[in-house]
Amino acid sequence: MKWLTRILAVAAALTLPAASSAQVRASEPALVAQTIDGTRLTLEYSRPRARSRDSLFGKTVTWGEVWTPGANWATTLEASKDVRVNGRPLPSGKYSVWLVVRKEGPWTVVLDPRHRRFHTMHPDSTAEQVRFDVVPAVTPFTEALTWSFSGLSPEGATLAMEWGTVRIPIEIKVSSSFSLVTAAEKAEPFLGAYTFAWSGGPESAKPITLFITHENGSLMARWDPAPFPEWDRFYLIPLPDGSFIPGFLEKGKLYDVERDMVFEFTTSGGQATEFKVRAEKDQVIASGKRKS
Protein backbone atom coordinates (compact mmCIF):
# COMPACT_ATOMS: atom_id res chain seq x y z
CA MET A 1 0.00 0.00 0.00
CA LYS A 2 2.99 2.31 0.40
CA TRP A 3 3.22 2.92 -3.34
CA LEU A 4 -0.47 3.88 -3.44
CA THR A 5 -0.04 6.34 -0.58
CA ARG A 6 2.91 7.94 -2.36
CA ILE A 7 1.03 8.25 -5.65
CA LEU A 8 -1.94 9.85 -3.90
CA ALA A 9 0.33 12.28 -2.08
CA VAL A 10 2.06 13.33 -5.30
CA ALA A 11 -1.29 13.67 -7.09
CA ALA A 12 -2.61 15.86 -4.29
CA ALA A 13 0.48 18.05 -4.41
CA LEU A 14 0.09 18.51 -8.16
CA THR A 15 -3.60 19.32 -8.11
CA LEU A 16 -3.82 21.53 -5.03
CA PRO A 17 -2.89 25.15 -5.72
CA ALA A 18 -0.10 26.59 -3.60
CA ALA A 19 -1.76 28.64 -0.91
CA SER A 20 0.34 31.76 -1.38
CA SER A 21 0.27 31.88 -5.19
CA ALA A 22 -3.52 31.59 -5.40
CA GLN A 23 -4.21 34.75 -3.48
CA VAL A 24 -4.06 37.39 -6.19
CA ARG A 25 -6.45 40.12 -5.19
CA ALA A 26 -7.67 43.33 -6.70
CA SER A 27 -6.82 44.99 -3.39
CA GLU A 28 -3.69 43.40 -1.98
CA PRO A 29 -3.23 43.42 1.81
CA ALA A 30 -0.52 45.66 3.22
CA LEU A 31 0.94 46.69 6.52
CA VAL A 32 2.89 49.77 7.50
CA ALA A 33 4.37 50.30 10.95
CA GLN A 34 6.42 52.92 12.67
CA THR A 35 7.90 53.04 16.16
CA ILE A 36 8.41 56.46 17.71
CA ASP A 37 9.96 56.77 21.16
CA GLY A 38 8.76 53.31 22.11
CA THR A 39 5.23 53.75 20.78
CA ARG A 40 4.50 51.33 17.94
CA LEU A 41 1.96 52.43 15.37
CA THR A 42 0.68 49.79 12.96
CA LEU A 43 -1.69 50.27 10.09
CA GLU A 44 -3.15 47.27 8.25
CA TYR A 45 -5.18 47.71 5.12
CA SER A 46 -5.96 46.48 1.66
CA ARG A 47 -4.85 48.53 -1.33
CA PRO A 48 -7.46 49.16 -4.02
CA ARG A 49 -6.04 50.36 -7.34
CA ALA A 50 -7.54 53.12 -9.42
CA ARG A 51 -7.59 50.85 -12.49
CA SER A 52 -8.37 53.72 -14.89
CA ARG A 53 -11.52 54.58 -13.00
CA ASP A 54 -12.18 58.30 -13.23
CA SER A 55 -13.48 60.34 -10.33
CA LEU A 56 -12.51 57.96 -7.56
CA PHE A 57 -14.03 60.33 -5.06
CA GLY A 58 -17.58 61.32 -5.90
CA LYS A 59 -18.15 58.23 -8.02
CA THR A 60 -16.32 55.10 -6.83
CA VAL A 61 -16.51 56.48 -3.30
CA THR A 62 -19.69 58.52 -3.21
CA TRP A 63 -20.04 61.84 -1.45
CA GLY A 64 -21.36 61.46 2.07
CA GLU A 65 -20.24 57.84 2.26
CA VAL A 66 -18.69 56.43 5.43
CA TRP A 67 -15.78 54.71 3.76
CA THR A 68 -12.87 52.72 5.09
CA PRO A 69 -9.76 54.05 3.35
CA GLY A 70 -8.77 50.66 2.02
CA ALA A 71 -10.84 47.68 0.89
CA ASN A 72 -12.32 44.40 2.10
CA TRP A 73 -11.90 44.35 5.88
CA ALA A 74 -11.76 47.81 7.42
CA THR A 75 -8.37 49.46 7.64
CA THR A 76 -7.05 49.29 11.21
CA LEU A 77 -4.75 51.52 13.21
CA GLU A 78 -3.10 50.08 16.32
CA ALA A 79 -1.19 52.15 18.88
CA SER A 80 0.82 50.35 21.56
CA LYS A 81 0.57 53.37 23.90
CA ASP A 82 -1.73 56.34 24.28
CA VAL A 83 -1.19 58.95 21.55
CA ARG A 84 -2.80 62.12 20.25
CA VAL A 85 -4.28 62.22 16.77
CA ASN A 86 -4.86 65.68 15.34
CA GLY A 87 -4.74 66.95 18.91
CA ARG A 88 -7.26 64.48 20.30
CA PRO A 89 -6.32 61.80 22.83
CA LEU A 90 -6.45 58.24 21.49
CA PRO A 91 -6.07 55.48 24.11
CA SER A 92 -3.77 52.60 23.18
CA GLY A 93 -5.55 49.87 21.25
CA LYS A 94 -6.71 48.84 17.81
CA TYR A 95 -9.25 50.83 15.84
CA SER A 96 -11.02 50.51 12.53
CA VAL A 97 -10.45 53.60 10.40
CA TRP A 98 -13.27 55.34 8.53
CA LEU A 99 -13.61 58.52 6.54
CA VAL A 100 -16.76 60.51 5.98
CA VAL A 101 -16.13 61.79 2.45
CA ARG A 102 -17.64 65.13 1.46
CA LYS A 103 -17.77 67.07 -1.77
CA GLU A 104 -17.19 70.34 0.04
CA GLY A 105 -15.66 71.20 3.39
CA PRO A 106 -13.50 69.03 5.62
CA TRP A 107 -13.78 65.26 5.73
CA THR A 108 -14.19 63.45 9.03
CA VAL A 109 -11.92 60.72 10.32
CA VAL A 110 -13.62 58.16 12.56
CA LEU A 111 -11.54 55.77 14.68
CA ASP A 112 -13.74 53.02 16.09
CA PRO A 113 -12.56 50.54 18.75
CA ARG A 114 -14.65 47.83 17.03
CA HIS A 115 -11.78 47.10 14.73
CA ARG A 116 -12.80 43.85 13.04
CA ARG A 117 -15.44 45.05 10.60
CA PHE A 118 -16.03 44.41 6.93
CA HIS A 119 -16.00 47.52 4.78
CA THR A 120 -19.78 47.37 4.37
CA MET A 121 -20.35 47.30 8.16
CA HIS A 122 -20.29 51.07 8.62
CA PRO A 123 -20.04 51.88 12.32
CA ASP A 124 -22.84 53.73 14.05
CA SER A 125 -21.83 56.73 16.13
CA THR A 126 -20.65 55.85 19.65
CA ALA A 127 -19.01 57.71 22.50
CA GLU A 128 -15.97 55.45 22.26
CA GLN A 129 -15.13 56.67 18.80
CA VAL A 130 -12.54 59.35 18.21
CA ARG A 131 -13.68 61.76 15.49
CA PHE A 132 -11.94 64.73 13.98
CA ASP A 133 -12.01 66.73 10.77
CA VAL A 134 -9.27 66.74 8.17
CA VAL A 135 -8.84 68.85 5.07
CA PRO A 136 -8.10 66.76 1.98
CA ALA A 137 -5.11 67.96 0.00
CA VAL A 138 -4.33 67.58 -3.69
CA THR A 139 -1.32 65.39 -4.46
CA PRO A 140 0.29 63.80 -7.54
CA PHE A 141 -1.67 60.77 -8.76
CA THR A 142 -1.29 57.57 -6.72
CA GLU A 143 -2.50 54.39 -8.44
CA ALA A 144 -2.76 52.06 -5.42
CA LEU A 145 -4.16 53.45 -2.18
CA THR A 146 -1.17 54.08 0.06
CA TRP A 147 -0.78 54.77 3.75
CA SER A 148 2.60 56.08 4.89
CA PHE A 149 4.39 57.76 7.76
CA SER A 150 6.27 60.96 6.98
CA GLY A 151 7.54 63.99 8.85
CA LEU A 152 9.09 61.77 11.48
CA SER A 153 10.27 63.60 14.60
CA PRO A 154 11.07 62.50 18.17
CA GLU A 155 7.53 63.54 19.09
CA GLY A 156 5.47 62.06 16.31
CA ALA A 157 4.81 61.78 12.60
CA THR A 158 2.28 62.42 9.89
CA LEU A 159 0.25 59.39 8.90
CA ALA A 160 -1.15 59.99 5.44
CA MET A 161 -3.50 58.21 3.05
CA GLU A 162 -3.05 58.88 -0.65
CA TRP A 163 -5.25 57.64 -3.47
CA GLY A 164 -5.88 59.18 -6.83
CA THR A 165 -5.03 62.83 -6.33
CA VAL A 166 -6.28 63.02 -2.73
CA ARG A 167 -4.10 63.08 0.35
CA ILE A 168 -5.47 62.86 3.90
CA PRO A 169 -2.87 63.75 6.55
CA ILE A 170 -3.27 62.80 10.21
CA GLU A 171 -0.89 64.21 12.80
CA ILE A 172 0.13 61.72 15.48
CA LYS A 173 1.94 62.75 18.65
CA VAL A 174 3.43 60.21 21.06
CA SER A 175 4.23 60.55 24.76
CA SER A 176 7.88 61.09 25.64
CA SER A 177 9.49 58.17 27.47
CA PHE A 178 12.10 60.31 29.16
CA SER A 179 12.27 63.54 31.07
CA LEU A 180 15.25 65.86 30.90
CA VAL A 181 14.31 67.48 34.17
CA THR A 182 16.22 66.74 37.36
CA ALA A 183 15.24 68.96 40.29
CA ALA A 184 18.07 70.94 41.85
CA GLU A 185 17.93 69.07 45.17
CA LYS A 186 18.06 65.72 43.37
CA ALA A 187 20.90 66.89 41.13
CA GLU A 188 23.02 68.25 43.97
CA PRO A 189 24.58 64.91 45.14
CA PHE A 190 25.95 64.23 41.66
CA LEU A 191 27.54 67.58 40.84
CA GLY A 192 31.33 67.70 40.60
CA ALA A 193 34.29 66.22 38.74
CA TYR A 194 35.01 62.51 38.39
CA THR A 195 37.71 60.34 36.90
CA PHE A 196 36.45 58.31 33.96
CA ALA A 197 38.15 55.14 32.73
CA TRP A 198 37.00 52.71 30.05
CA SER A 199 37.25 49.09 31.19
CA GLY A 200 40.16 47.33 29.56
CA GLY A 201 41.73 50.55 28.41
CA PRO A 202 45.53 50.78 28.40
CA GLU A 203 47.09 52.22 31.54
CA SER A 204 48.93 54.66 29.34
CA ALA A 205 45.62 56.13 28.11
CA LYS A 206 45.20 59.83 28.74
CA PRO A 207 43.15 60.40 31.92
CA ILE A 208 39.58 61.44 31.30
CA THR A 209 37.66 63.77 33.58
CA LEU A 210 33.87 63.83 33.66
CA PHE A 211 32.28 67.06 34.85
CA ILE A 212 28.66 66.96 35.97
CA THR A 213 26.75 70.23 36.26
CA HIS A 214 23.14 71.31 36.61
CA GLU A 215 22.04 73.54 33.76
CA ASN A 216 18.55 74.78 32.98
CA GLY A 217 16.99 72.13 35.19
CA SER A 218 18.92 69.20 33.72
CA LEU A 219 21.99 67.22 34.67
CA MET A 220 24.70 67.80 32.10
CA ALA A 221 27.91 65.78 31.69
CA ARG A 222 31.00 66.97 29.87
CA TRP A 223 34.15 64.95 29.47
CA ASP A 224 37.66 65.99 28.76
CA PRO A 225 38.99 64.69 26.50
CA ALA A 226 35.87 63.51 24.66
CA PRO A 227 35.98 60.16 22.79
CA PHE A 228 35.55 62.18 19.63
CA PRO A 229 34.80 65.88 19.04
CA GLU A 230 31.11 65.53 18.22
CA TRP A 231 30.44 63.93 21.59
CA ASP A 232 31.91 66.33 24.11
CA ARG A 233 28.81 66.60 26.29
CA PHE A 234 25.50 64.91 26.96
CA TYR A 235 22.51 65.13 29.25
CA LEU A 236 22.06 62.62 32.04
CA ILE A 237 18.50 61.36 31.76
CA PRO A 238 17.11 59.94 35.03
CA LEU A 239 15.65 56.42 34.94
CA PRO A 240 13.04 55.15 37.41
CA ASP A 241 15.59 52.97 39.24
CA GLY A 242 17.85 55.94 40.07
CA SER A 243 20.39 55.40 37.30
CA PHE A 244 21.03 57.67 34.32
CA ILE A 245 21.55 57.31 30.59
CA PRO A 246 23.05 59.82 28.15
CA GLY A 247 20.59 61.89 26.18
CA PHE A 248 21.19 64.10 23.16
CA LEU A 249 19.31 67.20 22.09
CA GLU A 250 18.64 68.74 18.72
CA LYS A 251 17.11 72.18 18.54
CA GLY A 252 16.43 71.99 22.26
CA LYS A 253 14.56 68.69 22.07
CA LEU A 254 15.62 65.20 23.05
CA TYR A 255 16.21 63.17 19.89
CA ASP A 256 18.29 60.22 21.03
CA VAL A 257 19.32 58.33 24.15
CA GLU A 258 22.10 55.82 24.67
CA ARG A 259 20.40 52.84 26.32
CA ASP A 260 23.62 50.83 26.39
CA MET A 261 25.45 53.24 28.67
CA VAL A 262 23.78 53.22 32.08
CA PHE A 263 25.43 55.30 34.82
CA GLU A 264 25.00 53.76 38.27
CA PHE A 265 26.22 56.03 41.05
CA THR A 266 27.20 54.96 44.56
CA THR A 267 26.41 57.54 47.19
CA SER A 268 27.84 58.04 50.64
CA GLY A 269 26.91 60.75 53.09
CA GLY A 270 24.45 62.22 50.64
CA GLN A 271 27.02 62.58 47.87
CA ALA A 272 27.88 60.44 44.87
CA THR A 273 31.36 59.04 45.34
CA GLU A 274 31.81 56.77 42.35
CA PHE A 275 29.98 55.30 39.39
CA LYS A 276 29.93 52.35 37.08
CA VAL A 277 28.76 52.41 33.49
CA ARG A 278 26.97 49.28 32.31
CA ALA A 279 26.11 48.14 28.80
CA GLU A 280 23.61 45.76 27.27
CA LYS A 281 25.01 42.58 28.78
CA ASP A 282 25.11 44.31 32.18
CA GLN A 283 28.89 44.32 31.93
CA VAL A 284 30.84 47.28 33.31
CA ILE A 285 32.33 49.20 30.40
CA ALA A 286 33.60 52.18 32.36
CA SER A 287 33.89 53.49 35.89
CA GLY A 288 34.91 56.60 37.75
CA LYS A 289 35.53 58.18 41.15
CA ARG A 290 34.84 61.62 42.50
CA LYS A 291 37.76 64.03 42.23
CA SER A 292 36.10 67.11 43.66
Binding site: G38, W198, S199, G200, G201, P227, F228, E230, W231, L239, P240, D241, S243, F248, E258, R259, D260, M261, V262, A279, E280, K281, D282, Q283, I285, A286
Partner: protein, 139 residues
Protein backbone atom coordinates in the same frame (compact mmCIF):
# COMPACT_ATOMS: atom_id res chain seq x y z
CA UNK B 1 30.66 57.36 8.76
CA UNK B 2 31.78 56.47 12.27
CA UNK B 3 29.08 57.49 14.73
CA UNK B 4 28.49 57.65 18.44
CA UNK B 5 26.30 54.56 18.09
CA UNK B 6 29.13 52.66 16.41
CA UNK B 7 31.43 53.74 19.20
CA UNK B 8 29.05 52.51 21.89
CA UNK B 9 28.45 49.20 20.16
CA UNK B 10 32.16 48.73 19.98
CA UNK B 11 32.58 49.51 23.66
CA UNK B 12 29.79 47.20 24.77
CA UNK B 13 30.65 44.30 22.51
CA UNK B 14 34.39 44.31 22.24
CA UNK B 15 35.77 46.40 25.04
CA UNK B 16 37.94 49.05 23.53
CA UNK B 17 38.57 47.33 20.23
CA UNK B 18 37.06 50.23 18.36
CA UNK B 19 39.46 52.65 19.91
CA UNK B 20 42.19 50.58 18.33
CA UNK B 21 40.45 50.88 14.98
CA UNK B 22 39.00 47.36 14.97
CA UNK B 23 35.31 47.20 14.08
CA UNK B 24 33.61 43.82 14.22
CA UNK B 25 31.17 42.97 11.45
CA UNK B 26 28.29 42.82 13.91
CA UNK B 27 28.97 46.22 15.51
CA UNK B 28 26.06 48.51 14.89
CA UNK B 29 23.45 45.80 15.09
CA UNK B 30 20.68 46.82 17.47
CA UNK B 31 18.17 44.27 18.53
CA UNK B 32 14.49 45.01 18.71
CA UNK B 33 13.22 45.19 22.24
CA UNK B 34 9.72 44.49 23.37
CA UNK B 35 8.10 45.23 26.67
CA UNK B 36 5.06 43.96 28.51
CA UNK B 37 3.90 42.71 31.89
CA UNK B 38 6.16 40.51 33.96
CA UNK B 39 5.02 36.92 34.48
CA UNK B 40 4.02 35.55 37.86
CA UNK B 41 6.59 33.01 39.10
CA UNK B 42 5.13 29.52 38.80
CA UNK B 43 4.66 27.86 42.21
CA UNK B 44 7.33 25.26 42.84
CA UNK B 45 9.37 26.25 39.80
CA UNK B 46 12.86 24.75 39.75
CA UNK B 47 15.96 25.24 37.67
CA UNK B 48 16.03 21.60 36.61
CA UNK B 49 15.97 22.55 32.91
CA UNK B 50 18.61 25.29 33.09
CA UNK B 51 21.62 24.25 31.04
CA UNK B 52 24.51 22.76 32.99
CA UNK B 53 28.22 23.30 32.51
CA UNK B 54 28.35 20.02 30.61
CA UNK B 55 25.81 21.44 28.18
CA UNK B 56 27.78 24.67 27.88
CA UNK B 57 31.12 23.19 26.94
CA UNK B 58 31.21 25.31 23.81
CA UNK B 59 30.56 28.50 25.81
CA UNK B 60 32.54 28.18 29.05
CA UNK B 61 32.39 31.93 29.65
CA UNK B 62 28.62 31.62 30.11
CA UNK B 63 28.76 28.93 32.78
CA UNK B 64 28.87 31.40 35.72
CA UNK B 65 25.86 33.25 34.32
CA UNK B 66 23.80 30.08 33.88
CA UNK B 67 24.89 28.96 37.38
CA UNK B 68 23.73 32.25 38.88
CA UNK B 69 20.35 31.91 37.17
CA UNK B 70 20.09 28.32 38.37
CA UNK B 71 20.39 29.56 41.94
CA UNK B 72 17.31 31.79 41.82
CA UNK B 73 14.68 30.23 39.51
CA UNK B 74 11.81 31.63 41.58
CA UNK B 75 13.08 35.16 40.87
CA UNK B 76 14.11 34.75 37.22
CA UNK B 77 10.72 33.14 36.53
CA UNK B 78 9.07 36.42 37.53
CA UNK B 79 10.93 38.46 34.93
CA UNK B 80 9.90 39.05 31.35
CA UNK B 81 12.66 38.93 28.76
CA UNK B 82 12.55 42.03 26.58
CA UNK B 83 14.56 40.78 23.61
CA UNK B 84 11.40 39.77 21.78
CA UNK B 85 11.51 36.07 22.64
CA UNK B 86 8.54 36.49 25.00
CA UNK B 87 6.30 36.20 21.95
CA UNK B 88 7.68 32.77 21.03
CA UNK B 89 5.49 29.74 21.73
CA UNK B 90 6.58 27.84 24.82
CA UNK B 91 8.19 30.85 26.42
CA UNK B 92 7.11 31.73 29.96
CA UNK B 93 9.77 33.94 31.52
CA UNK B 94 13.42 34.92 31.43
CA UNK B 95 14.06 31.48 32.89
CA UNK B 96 12.91 30.01 29.56
CA UNK B 97 15.86 31.74 27.91
CA UNK B 98 18.21 29.55 29.95
CA UNK B 99 16.47 26.26 29.23
CA UNK B 100 16.37 23.92 26.23
CA UNK B 101 17.66 25.75 23.17
CA UNK B 102 18.65 28.54 25.57
CA UNK B 103 18.48 31.79 23.68
CA UNK B 104 20.75 33.21 26.39
CA UNK B 105 23.61 31.31 24.75
CA UNK B 106 23.78 34.03 22.13
CA UNK B 107 21.38 36.87 22.95
CA UNK B 108 23.02 39.84 24.72
CA UNK B 109 19.69 41.00 26.15
CA UNK B 110 18.87 37.58 27.69
CA UNK B 111 22.38 37.56 29.12
CA UNK B 112 22.24 41.14 30.33
CA UNK B 113 18.91 40.69 32.05
CA UNK B 114 20.08 37.46 33.67
CA UNK B 115 23.23 39.11 35.00
CA UNK B 116 21.30 42.10 36.24
CA UNK B 117 18.70 39.98 38.03
CA UNK B 118 21.41 37.93 39.74
CA UNK B 119 23.37 41.03 40.72
CA UNK B 120 20.39 42.89 42.13
CA UNK B 121 19.17 39.80 43.96
CA UNK B 122 22.59 39.50 45.59
CA UNK B 123 22.26 43.16 46.59
CA UNK B 124 19.09 42.26 48.47
CA UNK B 125 16.57 43.77 46.05
CA UNK B 126 13.03 42.44 46.01
CA UNK B 127 11.39 41.00 42.89
CA UNK B 128 9.42 44.22 42.43
CA UNK B 129 12.57 46.33 42.70
CA UNK B 130 14.34 44.06 40.22
CA UNK B 131 11.40 44.36 37.81
CA UNK B 132 11.53 48.16 38.07
CA UNK B 133 15.24 48.14 37.26
CA UNK B 134 14.78 45.71 34.38
CA UNK B 135 11.99 47.86 32.94
CA UNK B 136 14.16 50.97 33.25
CA UNK B 137 17.06 49.39 31.38
CA UNK B 138 15.47 47.00 28.92
CA UNK B 139 11.81 47.96 28.68
Amino acid sequence: MFSRRDFMRGCSLTGLALLAGVRPAWAGIRRARSSGPHPTPRPGITAAKVLTKEQLEDSPNLIPLFDSVRGIPEIVDGIRCNCGCADVEGYYSLLSCYEGDAMARSCPICQGQGRMVSRLHKDGKTLDEIRTAIDARYG
